[in-house]
Amino acid sequence: MARFIVRRLGFLVLTVFLSSMIIFWATAVLPGDLATMVLGRYATEQAKAELRHELGLDQPIAAQYGRWLQDFVKGDWGTSVSTDTAVRPVVFQRLRNSLMLASVAFAMYVPLGILLGLIAALRKNTWVDQTISVGSLAFIGLPEFVSGVILITIFAVELGWFPAQSAIAPDSSFVAAFPYLILPAVTVALTSLAYVVRMTRSSTVDVLQMDYVRTANLKGLSPARVLFTHVLRNSLLPTITVVAIGIGWLIGGLIVTEAVYAYPGIGRLLLFAIQRRDLQLIQATALLIVIIYVVANLIADIMYAVLNPRIRYQ
């Protein structure tokens, strides 16, 4: 097991390293000159050249990359050009906000999705199953900016139950932010629900047809016991993987939802940074999102291995 984790960690470092190269290269070739952006369009060529030298922009891209990576690892993530503040505290604050949103959404769709998926599998090919499958699929096709607007119209504008905007102060506490988290979390949950439902349903349907479920039934166990001791243990394995991989997306991929609700999360920060051509901010945010993704995948792999004895000992 330890060897398995060490191996996976090795792959993780490799992935992050390659991604960092891509991110750095992509931002370096972005149109627009940093010196011009900082000093304004009418600055003298000499002033710009001096600034470029000072920032190391006149060096070859490989050297620039090396210095940037070194600084990043040391924790010096640079200064944002657009806000003129240190990048790291901003990014971490927004990351915390995204985590808050993600955990509320997670707590909504994971238990519900597993429950609905199980019900659909146990009532396979009945109207219950079809209602659940079609219902959850309908939301997958609905983009967040549509479902978000619909939710806002109904629950904020018409009913007035929740605030329409979630533009909280970035340093709000979880308790203070909670009312603002509900609508965006529902929006996210609706799109993710279908994946969990479908995965749970299909793997449970598969497991119910397995010979060992027949064995369990013919041991004379009650249907509930068969379900809990023999079916769930195996059928939830793929679901857990999907859910764990989903964590990465949940934290780093909420750009649209955060924009719709004006929620100060990391996705919205990335959007802001791109709009402002704020290279330091783009690089740090993008790389952090990559790290979150690969860590989520690592967690998924480890959980799968822990829960599946067939993997564990290989």
């Binding site: 060897r3 060490v6 191996r7 090795g10 792959f11 397995m210 010979d211 060992y212 027949r214 064995t215 369990a216 039934n217 013919l218 041991k219 004379g220 166990l221 009650s222 016991r225 001791t229 023999h230 243990r233 195996n234 829960l307 599946n308 004895p309 067939r310 000992y313």
Partner: protein
């Protein structure tokens, strides 16, 4: 000419048996609701199983034997239901029980052992817990007591190191050990009825023999009545007291074991017995009995006798109405109205089969077509990405010498993991040999197909075990056969079409199959297509890798006939790979016995199958379940399974499992090749005459005193 008097309808079981019936099925009918309408899968079936007795339910796939057993204990798919009849276990009517009452019987009074033990056990729960669960459910035991009982039961089924096995997951155990676990699980509550559904079909021959021994022993020790389901007539003889032969959802015949084999009273039984090759180590062979046509679908049953359309002894009256299963002689039941006219098996065999020309003994004059010398296939073993350790070597084939002669069949036998398939793949070049030489008519062949010229590729073709996997599901039968014709024989598309149709006829398939897709064919028909494709290029050698293993006995018989017929017509050479020694001895002129990547014994079929044997050959032979209750086989059993090809034991590689191991010599030194009569050679430390003396009684063909 009339059916026996109605009074003979006393039902199965006979009257002479003193013990009481434990399990009684009477007039049971089971239907499935499908898109095609109601399918009457089992119709008006009756049987009785007594205490300590085991009843063998034999039939080909689709005969309804599993449906009967599962339906009788009321475990049916949602679309199946019992429409008529009565099922009693110890006098309790099962069909009247509520689901809760049924669950109290399942696992406590009724134990079930399944075909594939690996899939029958939950992959993510340790063995001990899965066994203990039964005791906790039905015996009201605490966890610790239940675990203790589970371990005790594992000891009873002769499990090595039961304490450690309790903590293992299913994937960590071998097939034979897993089946012991399932059997132990079924016996946890000392059930009245034990249903065994093909419990050894998924196992190796050697493991099968060990498990069959165990079942026979448990039968004496436990009081359970056993309902034993199998398609294998050989296995039946090892376990069963009474046998019922099922066909398309009905019993054709029920009789005591020996009576059924000595004097079957139904033509279907007679045909089934004739489909199985008889163990007969002489070069003179006869074809096998074939049953024309196929099992009818249960929704398209003929009006009269359901076997009449395929029956050799059919009369006009047979088509008129369906004959009932009646007790014709004391306890012997037959559903044939002409049961008096059914000939003895020996007469039937003479009439229904013909002699096949085989190579004469000592036909060493035959030219060598393909010769493998010191052939090695070594793979790199698993190795880590971040660990620099050198990979271990998997010695799948580790120095194999063998000759295939022109127009002859070389049979290759061995357990799974012996490397027999890899040898074949090395000869054809699909898995390139990493050492040694393979020559075709004296010319050395490059190791991989990619570097062999077309003319060479044309000469060697292969038939694989699973036709579903080897035929492209989107290509029609005609395209599959035409492909090598165009590619290797350079025929035009027109020419290929015509030739493909000839080939279809040669493998006894209708020409109309040309445009069919594989999924429209039965398993046997698909394998005929694969054989036709192999013959298309007019090769000199065809490698048959377990080509009949996944098929029903009657289909196996007809395919073996086909292979023999085509060989005589085209004088093609075969390498016939199988774990089934009966099939190998039937088809082969020469036999190579392979163990862990090396040939242990080699020679003409007669020499290999008569003493002196290599101890491994001897063990394989004594493990084959022969379809003859009068044969006495020495119980020589191999423990464990073939070791990993990464850890080849030193000395003689067979020594850790060898029942005749001499000690240090075998452990430390490579055994010498010992030359016997003719081409016979075997690789053992024990001298040939000593082996012959030890093995004189491995198989005794007893003339038998009859029933």
């Amino acid at each position: 000419m009339d059916a026996p008097a109605a009074s003979a309808m006393s039902g199965p079981g006979g009257t002479a048996t003193a013990s009481r019936p434990v399990f009684e099925i009477e007039g049971l009918s089971i239907e499935y609701t499908t898109e095609l309408g109601m399918l009457p899968a089992v119709r008006n079936v009756s049987l009785r199983v007594h205490e300590h007795e085991s009843f063998g339910l034999v039939g080909e796939s689709g005969s309804g034997k599993s449906t009967l057993a599962m339906g009788a204990i009321r475990y049916l798919a949602a679309n199946g239901r019992v429409t008529a009849g009565s099922v009693r276990l110890n006098g309790v009517e099962l069909l009247d029980l509520s689901p809760r009452q049924l669950r109290a019987l399942w696992g406590s009074r009724i134990g079930v052992v399944y075909q594939s033990p690996l899939s029958a056990l939950n992959p993510s729960i340790v063995i001990g817990k899965q066994l203990a669960e039964v005791a906790r459910q039905h015996l009201g035991m605490e966890h610790a007591a239940a675990l203790a009982r589970a371990e005790g039961m594992l000891t009873k089924v002769a499990m090595p190191d039961p304490g450690a096995v309790m903590r293992r997951y299913p994937h960590q155990l071998s097939g034979g050990m897993l089946q012991r676990c399932v059997i132990a699980m079924a016996l946890m509550t000392d059930p009245s009825l034990l249903i065994m559904d093909e419990p050894t079909t998924a196992l190796d021959v050697t493991t099968q023999a060990v498990v069959l021994d165990l079942v026979a022993e448990l039968k004496r020790e436990f009081d359970s009545a056993i309902l034993y389901i199998t398609h294998d007539l050989g296995v039946i003889t090892k376990i069963c007291d009474r046998v019922g032969v099922m066909y398309a959802g009905e019993f054709m015949e029920q009789a005591a074991l020996r009576e059924l084999f000595h004097q079957p009273l139904h033509p279907y039984t007679l045909d089934l017995l004739g489909c199985v090759p008889h163990f007969d180590p002489t070069p003179q062979k006869r074809s096998l009995v074939t049953i024309p046509g196929a099992i009818p679908r249960v929704d398209e049953l003929p009006l009269g006798c359901i076997f009449a359309p395929r029956c050799r002894y059919v009369e006009k009256e047979c088509h008129a109405d369906r004959p009932p299963l009646v007790d014709v002689t004391d306890g012997h039941l037959s559903a044939c109205r002409r049961w008096r006219d059914v000939p003895p098996p020996a007469v039937h065999l003479r009439e229904a089969t013909e002699a096949v020309r085989m190579a004469e003994e000592g036909a060493a004059a035959a030219d060598v077509l393909v010769r493998a010398q010191g052939t090695e296939v070594h793979f790199k073993g698993p190795r880590g990405f971040f660990r620099g350790r050198t990979a271990r070597v998997i010695r799948a084939v580790d120095g194999v010498d063998l000759d295939v002669c022109v127009g002859q069949t070389l049979g290759v036998v061995g357990e799974s993991g012996s490397g027999k398939t890899t040898v074949a793949r090395a000869i054809i070049g699909l898995t390139p040999a990493t050492g040694g030489a393979i020559t075709l008519r004296g010319r050395r062949l490059p190791p991989s197909t990619g570097r062999r010229p077309r003319a060479t590729l044309k000469e060697i073709q292969m038939v694989f075990q699973n036709p579903d996997a080897s035929l492209n599901p989107t290509r029609s039968v005609g395209e599959a056969i035409s492909r090598p014709l165009v590619l290797l024989n350079g025929l035009s598309r027109q020419g290929a079409r015509a030739r493909a149709k000839e080939l279809l006829q040669a493998v006894s398939l209708p020409v109309s199959y040309f445009d069919r897709l594989p999924h429209e064919l039965s398993g046997g028909e698909k394998q005929r297509v694969a054989i036709a494709r192999a013959f298309a290029a007019e090769p000199e050698l065809i490698l048959c890798d377990e080509p009949i293993s996944s098929l029903d006995v009657s289909v196996q018989g007809s395919l073996m006939n086909l292979l023999m017929k085509l060989q005589v017509e085209k004088s093609t050479s075969y390498v016939f790979i199988s774990h089934d020694l009966s099939a190998v001895q039937h088809l082969s002129d020469a036999i190579a016995v392979v163990y862990l990547g090396r040939v242990m014994e080699l020679g003409t079929a007669v020499r290999v199958l008569t003493p002196p044997f290599h101890p491994y050959t001897e063990a394989l032979l004594s493990a084959v379940p022969l379809a003859d209750p009068d044969v006495v086989q020495q119980p020589i059993r191999l423990g464990g399974s073939v070791p990993s090809a990464m850890d080849v034991p030193p000395g003689c590689r067979f020594h850790p499992r060898c029942p005749r191991c001499l000690g240090d010599v075998c452990r430390e030194q490579e055994p010498p090749w010992r030359e016997g009569e003719g081409d016979h050679r075997l690789c053992c430390h024990i001298p040939l005459d000593e082996l012959a003396r030890l093995q004189a009684e491995t198989i005794v063909l007893d003339a038998g005193e009859g029933a």
